[in-house]
Symmetry: C2
Subunit: 434 residues, 2 copies
């Protein structure tokens, strides 16, 4: 591979999500050469992905060119490539653009959708773990209404206008709220020939409450907000099968042409790595994010499970954990370069939040837990500030302000037409043509 | 087709470009039912399309949801569909969503790329006549640099970094300028491992000057501006063949993995219409935009050729002609409803302009012809004001200001990966998956 040789130890990072991005930024490249791989040329700000899927934002608001982040970094090399396999013995990585030897390897490969072996659900549902999947979902939602217009079969129309979201975590709740806003403010104006009151939004949640990672108050508030917005919530209901139209669960069945899968994720470690994993496919690491049994291989973020007595399954799969682990490992590399010992990672919980709709959000902080208008303002402010640059912030702010003032969403565009009425083959499929 | 029956004459419009959009807006739907077809659910502001291709703007800045434009219009129905064929005798239209009878039919179907029978050029080149093609071009430009990084063959690297634009009209000139800015301000920072000075931008123009539709001063100015920006200009050179790497012309040959085709367009009339056409596939119409020989069928915009002694080939294929013909025909329909006679169309030339780069544009007005900084300001102001709504204007303004202040372009994202090094099958191919 065309990477210049330097007389510096080489750190290779796989994945430019929150963990990989922060790590690469934190490493002092006076002491190391850094090579970063990602299959895309952009970093994705996942917390706002549902706004792309629901026609509120365009990709450039939530994804950011990786090369731009590292414009001024010396001894840093980004390669857009698929990583195929790691050879831990030879300390070598096999990728779609050649092989590369490393001194230290960091897996920041994140998580992928977990369908728990339900093949039909995997085949016909729409996941939302990547930008491309979010864009596909946006197209499918809008295409369904275009199709409903041309159908004279009431049952088919209803199925086209029904959306089942499996999973009541933050992604499921936020997407349900966004769909409810489309139903209330936008679709009746866009489709006067359809009776949009027939549109159904269902959230199917296996646990006995929404947002199980947050406080009981947040669960109750978000459920109340969503119900008020007309969303149907089904607790302790688990999806079991789906044929593209009928969703089978352990209780109800639903007729819906769109099943959106936000119910589960699993770690996505690189192939070839021989290391202990949790049931959820996360690689076990020690307190320095070192993969058990591998001195030179680290794992950070969603793919890593740093288990302990208090955390038998590792930290929650959250952006804030990934960010902190990335920064921390970067500092540890910098310490190693100065012959200092690494320090163990500790997670600082700064709170969690989720938004439901206009003026409605829930926030859990150590001392305060609150929901409603102020939580919503805080959610918006925090997310605006987390965006990578000022241009994205301005563009997102313009879109949010417009949307708030005029009850409008600007990007209801079917750019990538998704074929066939069911979501067959709408998975990560970001290539056009043959 | 599910279009409600009204006791009103039905006007069916095919195509929602500038002509179709303005027409549909102008018709008084107290007197008519209007049904509008387009294969997309958005209207495209074509003059800024090259900014999507060159990573300056996202789709939502230049395309606009059609349903939103007509939110409040009564007796108006939009259907996203492909129109297959017109049956003039039965006054009936066959589409992908069913058949529909019309009282008046208006073809506003625009123009498509014309490759003048050169099959290889059609196969391997990238056109830029639709949003999807512009997005594909953006991906190809960026993917080529990613590929060049991984190549150790100097010739291949050079070909990957070479761009031949065939056609020196406004689209060709504007795109060449945008590529030159990428070369100068952005790519050297993004790809420090490549010698970006080796990047070549060629404009191949058959005529003896650029912008042949504008004044001699505009031609000379734009040529001077482009040469100063490092663009190679080849006048009186015509592309003849292309194999994906070598561009053959009547004079030079060029090694380039990307050939961008802006050299020719032809009218795209609906199939089944039996009517006289120009060599360029434009349908001959009378002064009322009525298709010769068809009382109830009209054609407006690029697809129509309103020939006369002064205009043996019809009006130039410009947005301003399409806008004026759309508005005029709408007024004529409204006159017909009041039993008044139609009035003939006359084109008011308000001037033409093209931009080349920062602080550089050319403007032709009746009395003044000028180029440079003030022309550039005027170009920006006019184009901002032409955008459909305030949100797009704000978003475009933020992006332009950012780009101007920081020599940056925000959307260099490879969202739709285009397969294979040549542009095979990168044509209008806006579907994902099987």
């Amino acid at each position: 591979m065309n990477v210049p040789h330097r007389d510096l130890p080489r750190i290779v990072i796989i994945g430019c999500g929150f963990a990989g991005l922060k790590l690469a930024k934190s490493i002092n490249t006076k002491n190391y050469q850094v090579v970063l791989f990602d299959k895309n040329n952009y970093h994705t700000f996942q917390p706002l992905m549902y706004q792309v899927a629901s026609a509120g934002l365009e990709p450039d608001s939530i994804v950011y060119p990786i090369r731009k982040v590292f414009n001024k970094k010396e001894n840093f090399h980004f390669r857009m490539a698929d990583v195929h396999e790691v050879d831990a013995e030879k300390k070598r990585l096999h990728t779609s653009v050649g092989t590369l030897d490393y001194d230290h390897l960091v897996m920041a490969t994140g998580a992928i959708s977990n369908f728990f072996g339900m093949e039909n659900v995997e085949k016909y549902s729409m996941p939302m773990k990547s930008l491309v999947e979010a864009l596909n979902l946006r197209s499918v939602i809008l295409q369904n209404f275009e199709k409903a217009l041309n159908s004279s079969d009431m049952q088919e129309q209803d199925a086209l206008m029904s959306f089942v979201i499996v999973g009541g975590g933050a992604t499921g709740v936020e997407l349900a709220g966004a769909l409810a806003e489309l139903k209330r403010y936008i679709l009746p104006k866009d489709y006067p020939d359809l009776d949009i009151r027939r549109m159904q939004i269902h959230v199917v949640q296996g646990a006995d409450r929404l947002l199980p990672g947050m406080s009981a108050k947040a669960s109750a508030d978000s459920e109340r907000f969503l119900r008020k917005m007309g969303v149907n919530i089904w607790l302790e209901v688990r999806a079991q099968d789906y044929d593209g139209t009928t969703v089978y669960t352990n209780k109800e069945t639903f007729q819906a042409k769109t099943l959106i899968w936000t119910a589960g994720v699993k770690g996505a470690p690189t192939a070839g790595l021989n290391a202990a994993q949790t049931n959820g496919g996360r690689v076990l690491v020690n307190a320095f994010n070192q993969v058990n049994g591998h001195q030179s291989i680290f794992a950070i973020g969603d793919v890593a499970a740093m288990t302990s007595e208090e955390l038998p399954y590792g930290h929650p799969m959250l952006a804030s954990v990934a960010v902190q682990q990335g920064v921390h490992l970067g500092k540890n590399f910098n310490r190693l370069a100065k012959q200092k010992e690494m320090t163990p990672f500790t997670y600082k919980d700064k709170g969690t939040m989720a938004t439901v709709g206009r003026n409605l959000a829930v926030v859990d902080m150590k001392r305060f837990k609150f929901g409603g208008w102020f939580a919503w303002l805080m959610w918006m402010f925090v997310h605006l500030m987390l965006l990578v640059d000022f241009r994205s912030r301005l563009v997102v702010f313009v879109n949010w302000a417009w949307s708030y003032l005029f009850y409008d969403k600007g990007t209801r565009l079917i750019v990538r037409k998704v074929k066939d009425k069911t979501a067959v083959d709408c998975k990560e499929e970001d290539s056009v043509a043959v």
